[in-house]
Symmetry: C2
Subunit: 223 residues, 2 copies
């Protein structure tokens, strides 16, 4: 069995990406980034519960602080004094929940870990279109980062970065997750709250619309 690093935030998309990797026969190494997001405690709980669900041993779980992102700020996700804009998933401009270049830090961490543990694949749950429009989530970004990864690591390290959801809608992701038995009931998406999803932020709006379009009840609000 080949080893794959999966970037697992605790949200729905990365949970489905992990389920896809598992379904493709990979042994999972799960990486969670703490970049100072305001709901990190709840996301970390989701990560732990997902890692238990996927039966990943502790030495194949890695929680990394990306303190640079917190220190640099510039986002309502990391800086409490920047008020989060109301959710608006049809906007054209970049919402202030954008964390500047976050996914480059995340992917750099995945690549370093993959190099050390000998994983040939990295799975991420990035979504390009049915999303908040962050520039570090698209196909072009992933491809360009894969090039950087293969130039910037040792000659024996070859990594493929797989983003199996990147062209899907949220509804398609939910349907794919349901068909694989992905543990969506353990995930957390809300940007604002750590108890009951606010239902108002971009992340809640995308999740709500996705479940509605997919024709399923969201297990975390059904409880």
């Amino acid at each position: 069995m080949s080893l794959a690093v999966v970037a697992l935030s605790g949200g729905m998309d990365s949970c489905v990406a992990a389920s896809i990797a598992k379904n493709e026969g990979y042994k999972l190494a799960l990486l969670h980034a703490d970049y100072g997001q305001l709901t990190e405690a709840r996301e970390r709980r989701a990560f732990d519960e997902l890692a238990d669900h996927f039966d990943v041993p502790s030495h194949k779980r890695l929680v990394v602080p990306l303190q640079a992102l917190k220190l640099i700020g510039g986002s309502s996700l990391t800086t409490a004094s920047i008020p989060m804009e109301n959710g608006n998933i049809d906007r054209d401009n970049l919402p202030n929940t954008y964390v500047p270049f976050r996914n480059a830090h995340l992917l750099a961490t995945c690549v370093s870990w993959a190099e050390v543990i000998g994983a040939g694949e990295i799975f991420v749950g990035f979504v390009e279109h049915d999303s908040s429009g962050y520039p570090d989530c698209g196909v072009a970004f992933v491809k360009a980062f894969e090039t950087v990864a293969n130039i910037g690591t040792g000659i024996n390290t070859n990594v493929a970065i797989k983003a199996p959801l990147i062209d899907m809608t949220k509804a398609e992701i939910i349907i794919a997750g349901m068909s694989l038995g992905a543990p969506l009931h353990l995930t957390w998406s809300c940007y604002k709250s750590e108890t009951i999803p606010c239902g108002q932020c971009d992340s809640c709006l995308l999740r709500l619309r996705g479940f509605e379009q997919a024709g399923y009840i969201d297990p975390i609000t059904a409880k």
Copy 2:
């Protein structure tokens, strides 16, 4: 005056890169990474003294912990239980001082900061040939990362990554630094010691050979 982020380790190369940026008329924003390297305390002192020398105000100095690299390990620079190989600057293989994909973490941090503070240039002291042969120091890596940076940030962010020393020999770097009045006496290069340079590690060997070839006395050993 345009603003440039300079990645400043405290070593000689990044000091000369900072001097070049200053000489080109940029206002400097200095970034130092603490990635758990064993000699960080000494490098940090060098960073502080260099930042004072360049008269950079405190809000334009950023020290970031890159804890992921320490947690992931895989290098004798960050993991005390991996014995450092003897210096050998003519070897063909990758020395165990290579920190897996470190410079991607460093550049990602520079790009995030540049995006938030509105800097259009990033200066690094990477050296491709007259070096230990790390894969994340070459022209191809820098160019590929610049592409990633411009894809993965907001539409109004454009960053150029400048590596003015990348094709130079160490002797040429020293000569360039001397001609610009770069404060080489404040820099620190040794990988092993924080008091007197060991003279044996790759970094010392490269520095010693550089000064010899340049025909100068190294101010840190001359004391």
